[in-house]
């Protein structure tokens, strides 16, 4: 389902921005030893694109007037006092793992601006494009393993990208739809008859070409190309890494538990990638921009259907948390579930809700996140953050702290400007153990 504005997100934010020059400096930083020892190693960010309605998912208002409370009712979860939408049957049994922030607040109610703010902690600027969490983590981490340090499942999100950091921090998008039978990540295997020596000679010849020719200076094109090729060679040379992308290898029973939907199989793929050593995966789930027919979209997808956004997310997220916990990986993995804003408390004339950034909800789980609690609250109609408001900058600082990344650490842009990872804000102390 498209977003209401239909604008190509990739292009929107280049308001006089610096071109994506590679960074000799950041690359040098990359070669430092790995990330801080305190802090979660992994992160799975589930991005609910379009802006999920807080009033119909995690912050229901059963006592509000009918045109605000809508069709869904809250239901109890396994944590006394925490109620979420009745249609999250399975997630309700594991809210003890989840820290639910209900007092997110932002001034930006447009998709691109709101997304950028939530995914970077910075309000969009005409001068500079900021990197998102996965790219910053990749830059801080030093040389990652064989798998790309930052993978996007299934598609590339322009707001969760590398900003002013070098092109090698760009997320690797697997493309396609992991729930389709013919899903595969293409071009992972060298052509028949190509051994390692041949690939090596090509690498060498390419380096020779650029070295011998004085025509094109070291700059963005060469740096990005080299970084991407290096990553590609590492991936090609590792059968184990390549297998991680193959969801088809999972037992059918496991695939069914996640749900044979795009979000379900994307979460499954995320789990496989984390297991195989990829430290940061963003899963994008489109279709939450419910300006019309919200209850059909959220519950069924189409009349009489089983493709409602909520049940599909319910199966995917709960199975993901379960499996990560069972393998022990959840202790080292931060799971984030969020979108760019909430939706209007008053239903509109198309039986839907429009954009509403003044109050919305975000979920955190895993690792050192203190689960089983609600942080903050919205008012009686879900219009404003009533108690303990949290800005996207606060959230960003919290995420970086959880990942063991110093939020005040500085990177340098291509023209030598120092930029902090996070522009201030306050850590949400209640989320941490």
């Amino acid at each position: 389902m498209r977003r209401c504005d239909g604008v190509n997100r990739r292009e929107f934010l280049r308001i006089g921005s610096l071109s994506a020059f590679g960074l000799g400096v950041a690359d040098a930083l990359r070669r430092r030893t790995a990330a801080a020892d305190d802090g979660l190693r992994n992160c799975i960010l589930i991005w609910l694109d379009g802006g999920p309605s807080h009033l119909d998912t995690f912050d229901l208002k059963p006592d509000a007037p009918a045109e605000v409370r809508g069709d869904f009712s809250p239901a109890a979860s396994d944590v006394p006092g925490i109620q979420i939408c009745e249609h999250f049957h399975r997630l309700a049994t594991m809210m003890h793992r989840v820290c639910l922030v209900r007092s997110m607040t932002s001034p930006l109610g447009e998709h691109n601006l709101g997304s950028h703010y939530m995914l970077t902690g910075y309000q969009p600027s005409p001068v500079i494009e900021y990197p998102s969490y996965g790219s910053v983590a990749a830059a801080c981490r030093g040389d990652a393993g064989v798998l790309p340090a930052y993978v996007a499942v299934p598609s590339f999100n322009a707001h969760a990208a590398n900003g002013y950091l070098s092109g090698s921090m760009r997320p690797f998008a697997v493309g396609g739809d992991p729930s389709k039978p013919d899903f595969r990540v293409k071009d992972l295997d060298a052509p028949a008859g190509f051994d390692a020596a041949r690939l090596d000679r090509r690498r060498q010849f390419l380096a020779d070409f650029d070295r011998l020719s004085a025509q094109v200076e070291e700059g963005a094109f060469r740096q990005t190309r080299d970084a991407q090729f290096e990553q590609a060679y590492r991936l090609i040379a590792s059968p184990a890494a390549k297998r991680a992308f193959n969801v088809g290898e999972e037992r059918p029973a496991v695939r069914q538990r996640y749900g044979m939907s795009r979000i379900g199989q994307s979460c499954l793929l995320a789990r496989r990638l984390i297991e195989a050593g990829c430290p940061f995966v963003t899963v994008t789930d489109n279709g939450w921009d419910t300006h019309g027919q919200i209850y059909r979209e959220l519950k069924e997808g189409y009349v009489g259907g089983y493709a409602g956004k909520i049940p599909l997310l319910d199966a995917a997220l709960s199975t993901l948390l379960d499996e990560l916990a069972a393998s022990g990986l959840l202790d080292e993995t931060l799971v984030i579930v969020m979108g760019e804003f909430g939706r209007t408390p008053k239903l509109n004339t198309a039986a839907g809700r429009d954009h509403w950034p003044r109050a919305f909800s975000v979920l955190l789980a895993g690792g050192s996140v203190r689960g089983g609690q609600v942080v903050g609250s919205s008012d009686a109609r879900g219009e404003n953050a009533a108690d303990r408001p949290v800005s996207p900058t606060d959230l960003a600082r919290t995420i970086y702290t959880l990942l063991g990344i110093d939020p005040d650490r500085e990177f340098q842009t291509a023209d030598g400007r120092p930029v902090r990872v996070s522009p201030g804000g306050q850590v949400i102390r209640e989320c941490l153990t």
Partner: protein, 732 residues
Amino acid sequence: MFEHAARCVIIATVGIATAAPGIELPTPSQQPNPIVDFETQVIPVLTKAGCNSGSCHGAAIGRGGFKLSLLGYDPQADYDSLVSEFEGRRVNQVRPEKSLVLRKPALDIDHEGGLRLKPGGDGFRIVRDWIAAGAPRGGDRRLLKIEVAPTTQWLPDLGGQFSIKVLAHFATGDQRSAVSIQQTSEDVTRWAVFTATDPAATRVDSSGAVTVLRRGQTSVMVRFLGEVAAVTVMVPINEGGDAPANRPLANFVDEHVNRTLDALRLPHSPRTDDRIFVRRVYLDLIGVLPDPAEVDAFVADRAADKRQRLVEGLLDRSEFADLWALKWGDLLRIESRRLQPEGAAAFHSYIRDCVAKNTPLDVMARTMLLATGDGYAVGPANFSRVPRDAREAAEHVSRVMLGVRLQCANCHNHPLDRWTQDDYHGLAAVFARVDRSREVKLVARGDVIHPRTGRPAVPRIPGDRFIESPDATTWRDQFADWATSPVNPFFARVAVNRIWRELMGRGLVEPVDDLRATNPATHPELLDALAADLASHRFDVRHTVRTVVTSEAYQRSSVSQSGNRADDRFCSKALVRPLAAHVLIDAVVKVTGVTERLGDLPGGTPAISLGDSRVASEPLDLLGRCSRDAECSAATASSGSLPLALHTINGPWLNAKLADPAGRLARLLTTSADNAAIVTEFYLIALSRRPTQAELNHWHDGLAAADSSGRVAALQDFCWALLNSAEFGCNH
């Protein structure tokens, strides 16, 4: 005091203010009986104090139960909020100091927004005086325009400071009768809102004092009462030294470029040599690598004007029409899902025809705006079939024809620019009576409801006037007349900006379709000069292309000098630009001698000739071609991605071509050519030059290491590396 009053009277009777910034003019609180005007004096106070910003009372539902219009765009609504709502407690006419609108921002009562109006301060006094005068609605004073001084400020070094002055010109009097309109001017620096575009580069305080922190060129935004302006600030990038005397100059483009280089103390790179020039201009104008014979002939030519003649020849080639029709297609969103294959083909054919015939741009624009008929037969009618409804049409037309992004003005007046909701919905109304199905025609009904009035929006030329005529069939014509007029401030400017970006790598304004006062050009006078030049030459696109490509700025080498390494926008050197997707595909075909499979089209179809963006091609997708189902404002950025890297290494795109028995390499291998000859031929076709001796030696050694059975593989690997080299993949 008397002097001030006398001057006031003189100005009033003369009618036109002659004040220049720096002369102190009376402000309301200095006058004996202050008559405070709500719209032009109280609203600026609230704006300066931040009351009506998007994060406070200017938000969609206001704050704390009190709503103001965003940055004061709706004075009537603000007046009602202040005076009539909340049982009149916001404004207390009996005891003005008790008004909530004073007590809260003065922190006399709890106020989440903090201290905003210091008690006894200027702002406080203005609001208080207004309330004491009976909180009159006023409304017979309106802002005509603001003048900001300086508009450009050059400072010799960091740490320098200067102050911005803002002069507002008002008209006072009954707006409906022409009689007794007085024009006054007032220094409103105190109430203007100043914002640094780049806070790391400049710091500006609330009085308009600017301190420069970083070298280069940046800007400060000035806002007063819905009008916005930009002040450009320049500090030389390199310290000390003299500007080079006599920078090369071919035409007026160079005058402007060189002047900025001087101000910024940037050295310029020398003229690029003939071989590189040929390759560059071939790729930029016709998207094709030059044949080695063409390059050699050009180098041998002794004529002084050979570069100009080369350019003329390229403008006439059919590939020029192909390439520039492709660029148009991205802008106009020619694709077959929305337009159907027949519509896309008809539209592309029309556009290509226009480029080939060099149809004047204003004629093209008029034709596209007004065409009706069967989209499958009438190419230009498809222009109207791209947007799905009237509002999308307004956004599409303003972006394409005017270089203006109108979207924000849908819900409120545009916060960064002068566009109002009336402009947005009024422009949509102009296009509301158009049937956009296969047969494009005007219909009798169709309105756009203005969200503020709840009634049909009155058709409007944005920023200019409402359209009076009740005859809906003339509305689009009136818009077309206005848009394509030689004095229209947008049409020619966005056109030359786009041409500049295609040839130089970066628009004078970026993004190219975001012309606004708060997004200043790197070279504002140059942009104006190019636009005026285009308009005065009957909107002849080739004329502008020629002007740019024959300038010295275009012909500079891309190799840095000491001191201009970081320059990406002042034309001290040429920018290195990755080849666009379609051009790269065709270049690979030419070098390897093997055609690229494009959808179901016949083998050998050049990628630059494609009319539809949906022709199936994995390499084109991976290289980032514009899908055209939404805006693609940036030039296709083949800046690389991991899937592209994997495909280049493992996929068939290059590998199959290098192994193809009918390809260039395979054919050369059947001859008696030795490795050196093969290497040379590939250098000539791919890079338009011969290998240097050092390169020949290197490849000799590298290829000799492979025995005869491995010779083929080694040469294939050499070719693969050549095709991935920066020198091949970029226009430098």
